[in-house]
């Protein structure tokens, strides 16, 4: 029951941190109220009664005072809670966002995340999938859209939910305050593989983030070894290229994750499996048993083609 990498209780983002404080501002008074109510009820069971039948007038008067007082107190406590809640809500609202935010467009798809780092200079736009890198200390604006059904962007350690809605744009912002890897997951039921629609947010120092950006901006690595060259050929000549993009090659499919820098990512299949050669092999040969119902087709591959393909994909750093 300890907080894991997807816990809201171990906050490392501005929005999640103030919300975490708010949680305790609510929990403590409410827990006290709960204990008092239950205690009164339990004592009432065992209490010795002096009278039976219709209670005396003065008893009723005393009860009236108690009930009125408790009701007024409830109002006061709730007004206080509304005040702290609304002020926290203001602090994390879009209007409170500092300037110089980095805008990241997240597109929900059944069942993966497409990620684009927006920039006025089109040549500086980075496209990736299922993994978001952010620099610590700089505000991040998430611009949410959806390609199909409603999804919800949620990284509990950093920020609360925002739905990604077809034909609409939603926004929210946060600042990562601590380096680390934070897991996020789609929070609005979106169909068969809703359970396997996760992502990782990597918060790192500005310098490392810039290095990552620079690497992501480039085209894919050219295959070097014969096996990698063979693997690229396999990729381009099979159905893979119809759905996936690998920049710098002729593969420019738009309906599945961009694989230009696949090997630099922590996971595959939207957070379903750690990104290693064995999992990748299993995923390519039989995606439907790992994530039943997902939209990746099982591409029939000759036995001798698999390892060159893995070599090639492994080289896409």
């Amino acid at each position: 029951m300890m907080p894991g990498p997807q816990s809201s209780l171990d906050a490392a983002g501005s929005a999640a941190r103030v919300t975490g404080h708010l949680l305790w501002l609510f929990v403590i008074p409410l827990a006290i109220i709960f204990v008092i109510v239950v205690a009164i009820a339990v004592v009432a069971i065992f209490r010795k009664h002096r009278e039976s039948g219709r209670p005396a007038v003065e008893t009723e008067r005393g009860l009236t005072r108690m009930v009125t007082g408790a009701s007024v107190l409830t109002c006061v406590i709730l007004l206080g809670l509304i005040a702290v809640s609304v002020s926290t809500g203001k602090a994390i609202s879009d209007r409170a966002m500092p300037r110089n935010a980095l805008t990241i467009e997240v597109t929900g798809n059944q069942w993966w995340w497409s990620v684009r780092y927006l920039n006025d200079d089109a040549s500086l736009i980075v496209t990736t999938a299922n993994e978001i890198h952010v620099p610590v200390g700089r505000p991040i604006l998430i611009r949410g859209v959806s390609a199909d059904v409603i999804h919800s962007f949620w990284v509990p350690g950093l920020i609360g939910k925002r739905d990604l809605i077809p034909s609409r744009v939603t926004t929210e912002w946060f600042t990562a305050e601590r380096e680390g890897n934070y897991r996020g997951q789609c929070a609005e039921f979106c169909g068969l593989q809703h359970a396997h629609m996760a992502m990782w947010v990597v918060a790192e120092s500005p310098a490392r983030f810039q290095a990552w950006m620079n690497a992501q901006l480039g085209d894919s690595a050219n295959p070097v070894t014969p096996a990698e060259q063979q693997g690229q050929k396999v990729f381009l000549e099979h159905a893979c290229a119809l759905c996936h993009t690998i920049r710098g090659t002729t593969a420019n499919g738009q309906v599945a994750p961009d694989l230009t820098h696949l090997a630099s990512r922590l996971t595959i299949a939207a957070g379903t499996l750690p990104n290693n050669r064995g999992n990748l092999a299993g995923w390519i040969t039989d995606p439907q048993s790992i994530k039943p119902g997902n939209h990746m087709a099982t591409v029939p591959l000759a036995a001798e083609d698999l390892h060159p393909l893995l070599d090639y994909l492994g080289s896409l750093r």
């Binding site: 300890m2 907080p3 894991g4 990498p5 997807q6 816990s7 809201s8 919300t19 708010l22 949680l23 609510f26 409410l30 827990a31 109510v37 009164i40 009820a41 004592v43 009432a44 069971i45 209490r47 009664h49 039948g53 219709r54 209670p55 009860l63 009236t64 009930v67 009701s71 409830t74 809670l81 509304i82 809640s85 609304v86 809500g89 609202s93 059904v149 409603i150 919800s152 509990p156 609360g160 925002r162 739905d163 809605i165 077809p166 034909s167 609409r168 926004t171 929210e172 897991r183 997951q185 929070a187 609005e188 039921f189 979106c190 169909g191 068969l192 809703h194 359970a195 039943p292 119902g293």
Partner: protein, 638 residues
């Protein structure tokens, strides 16, 4: 009671009670036999059927819940695949909300309200039977579709566009959408009857301030049904089903439709729905507490007014289900404040019951155990509800297991525990047999412990990031132990359910018959024998107190002069319940069943082609003609 029509002195009227009972039995008894079963229109028969049918659906929903808990017990479990799991959680939510919770509350009201108000039947007995048949057929319709492979899998609120024509294939979602029409028609029928019965058919002298609190709850609930249920029919039938079957564009963004509007319309019903389930339960609590503390419930006007306020406020909170969609800030602040303020009206009621318990002589029957279980569980659920009204907290906990925990605390604690309490409380009245107190208390403790074991860890799971509606989860996120505990708790709940059923069956078979008023309760249903005769009251009582059986256990002021050879009831004034005129209820009839059957055929076909609506309308109209066509001389004589 000094009513102008009451004859206070003079020679007592002479009558033969035995003779009157025989005459009433001939008039009010529904036909016997298999076919006769379809004719029944007495509120007791219909009420019992509602309750029994709803409990069968509770069983189905419970089994579905257990299947989900087994799947989630361990990370990466393969007990259920994603398709099956999604279908089962959809069926669980749908069954519990539409086929169990609302109908069981309607059924209890159909049974209890006329007896508590001191009248012989609901205002529209044939409509009552029709409503029951629509409910049964809707339930059969959904489960028959599910059994033939068309099981809905888009969740109990079927958000578009996931549930729309582009992303949900097959007939499952269509069946879901049309099932709602069946059950809502049923709920609306009951709401109209209960409202009119409460306004117009109360025993003479039962002025507004003497109506039992349970009947007040049902009256308010009926109005909530009347205003809320049409919205869900618009959402499910007009928007979703028509988009799927005849190509309208209500939720299709490409042609100007809007999936968010579906959410608005759905939750405009969906939030009041919670109170539609919950208000009757509050009425149970008042009745059980009153009978078992031997004092009138403290703060009768406060309880009634806060329930009325709840009824109003409940229509102003629906947006708190949609905070994550990103609404304008000013609207958010309003909906936060309104959502928290409903805690005040609920709090006042809790305080009133606490005051009653504190100053009364508490008798710990099995029913009272469930009342205390209610106080514990519901108060916790209400307090987490206050947390969810806060937008920042909601953005972290919305659609997680924190919410799953919250609404099970509210619905199970706030509705199911009171319902089980009511079951134990009124079991002697309905069946004529005393219920086993020891097994009742045992089932309470199993359910109470099992419930908290299942759902308390879910709060923590949710805060630790576990989202709703996932069929599996990786081991690395720290959710395994919480889920295992929850599954163990679910098994304890199941055991409690078994004890509950065993107790009910054993008590039915026992030879301990129940006296008219085993709990020494104050309301009118306890004045007649257990189980009550078909006509309820041989002589309708005249009421002069809020607790008539405590004021005068023998109910010595009664109504005479009603005809026994037809189903006569008395209509009384709305405010003071002064006698106004008599009216005659229709006799038992097969037509409500036939009308419901005809309409059901149309609805069933409508998920395949729109033109089936016309078939349903035609068959339904034939049924209604038979229903209303007067058969002389009895049905047209003055």
């Amino acid at each position: 009671m000094t009513h102008p029509l009451v004859t206070p002195a003079g020679p007592p009227r002479v009558w033969d009670e035995q003779q009157d009972r025989e005459a009433l039995a001939r008039t009010w008894h529904d036909p016997e036999g298999f076919l006769g079963w379809f004719y029944a229109t007495t509120h007791q028969a219909i009420g019992k059927r509602y309750i029994l049918t709803a409990f069968l659906f509770l069983l189905a929903g419970g089994v579905e819940a257990l299947l989900m808990r087994i799947q989630l017990a361990r990370p990466e479990n393969h007990f259920l695949g994603p398709d099956r799991y999604n279908q089962i959680f959809t069926m669980h939510g749908t069954t519990m909300m539409f086929l169990f919770a609302v109908p069981v509350m309607e059924g209890m009201a159909v049974y209890l309200v006329p007896l508590m108000l001191g009248t012989r039947n609901v205002a529209f007995p044939r409509l009552n039977a029709f409503g029951y048949w629509m409910y049964v057929m809707g339930g059969i319709f959904l489960y028959a579709n599910a059994a033939t492979g068309a099981m809905p899998d888009a969740g109990w609120f079927a958000y578009t566009p996931l549930s729309g024509p582009q992303y949900s294939f097959g007939k499952g979602v269509d069946a879901w959408a049309q099932m709602i029409t069946f059950t809502e028609i049923s709920a609306l029928c009951v709401a109209v009857e209960i409202a009119v019965t409460t306004f117009r058919l109360r025993a003479p002298g039962m002025s507004l301030n003497r109506i039992p609190l349970y009947c007040w709850s049902m009256l308010i609930q009926s109005f909530m049904v009347i205003f809320a249920m049409p919205a869900v029919m618009v959402a499910s039938t007009v928007m979703l089903l028509n988009d799927r079957t005849i190509g309208t564009h209500f939720v299709n963004p490409a042609e100007g439709g809007d999936p968010i509007l579906y959410q608005h319309v759905f939750w405009f019903f969906g939030h009041p729905e919670v109170y539609i389930i919950f208000l009757p339960a509050l009425g149970f609590i008042s009745a059980i507490v009153e009978a078992n503390t031997k004092r009138e419930v403290f703060g009768y006007p406060a309880l009634v007014l806060s329930q009325v306020a709840t009824g109003f406020i409940a229509f102003g909170l629906w947006v708190h289900h949609m905070f994550a969609t990103g609404l304008p800030q000013i609207g958010e602040a309003y909906f936060t404040a309104a959502s928290m303020m409903i805690a005040v009206t609920t709090g006042i009621q809790i305080f009133c019951w606490l005051a009653t318990l504190w100053s009364g002589k508490v008798r710990m029957t099995a029913a009272m155990h469930f009342v205390f279980g209610f106080l514990f569980i519901f108060v916790m659920g209400g307090l987490t509800g206050v947390m969810l009204a806060s937008i920042p907290l909601d953005l972290q906990s919305h659609d997680t297991y924190f919410v799953v925990a919250h609404f099970h605390y509210v619905l199970i604690g706030g509705a199911l525990f009171p319902l089980f309490g009511a079951f134990h409380h009124w079991f002697p009245k309905i069946t004529g047999r005393m219920i086993g107190e020891r097994l009742g208390k045992l089932s309470f403790w199993l359910l109470f412990i099992g419930f908290n074991t299942t759902f308390f860890p879910m709060h923590i799971l949710g805060l630790n990031g576990m989202t709703r509606r996932i069929y599996t989860y990786p081991a690395s996120l720290g959710w395994a132990s919480g889920n295992m505990i929850a599954t163990v708790g679910a098994m304890i709940i199941a055991l409690g359910g078994v004890v509950f059923i065993v107790n009910a069956i054993a008590s039915l078979r026992s030879s301990v018959s129940a006296a008219p008023n085993p709990w020494n309760a104050p309301s009118l249903e306890w004045s007649v024998e257990s189980p009550p005769p078909d006509w309820g009251f041989t002589y309708q009582p005249v009421v002069s107190s809020r607790s008539p059986l405590w004021a005068d256990p023998a109910l010595r002021t009664v109504v005479t002069g009603m005809r026994n050879d037809r189903r006569e009831i008395m209509v009384t004034g709305v405010a003071e319940a002064e006698p106004q005129f008599r009216t005659v209820l229709p006799a038992a009839s097969l037509w409500p069943f036939l009308a419901a059957l005809g309409i059901s055929i149309g609805f069933t076909g409508s998920i395949f082609a729109f033109s089936w609506y016309y078939v349903g309308a035609f068959l339904g109209a034939l049924g209604m003609i038979g229903w209303f066509w007067p058969r002389p001389p009895k049905e047209i004589e003055p």
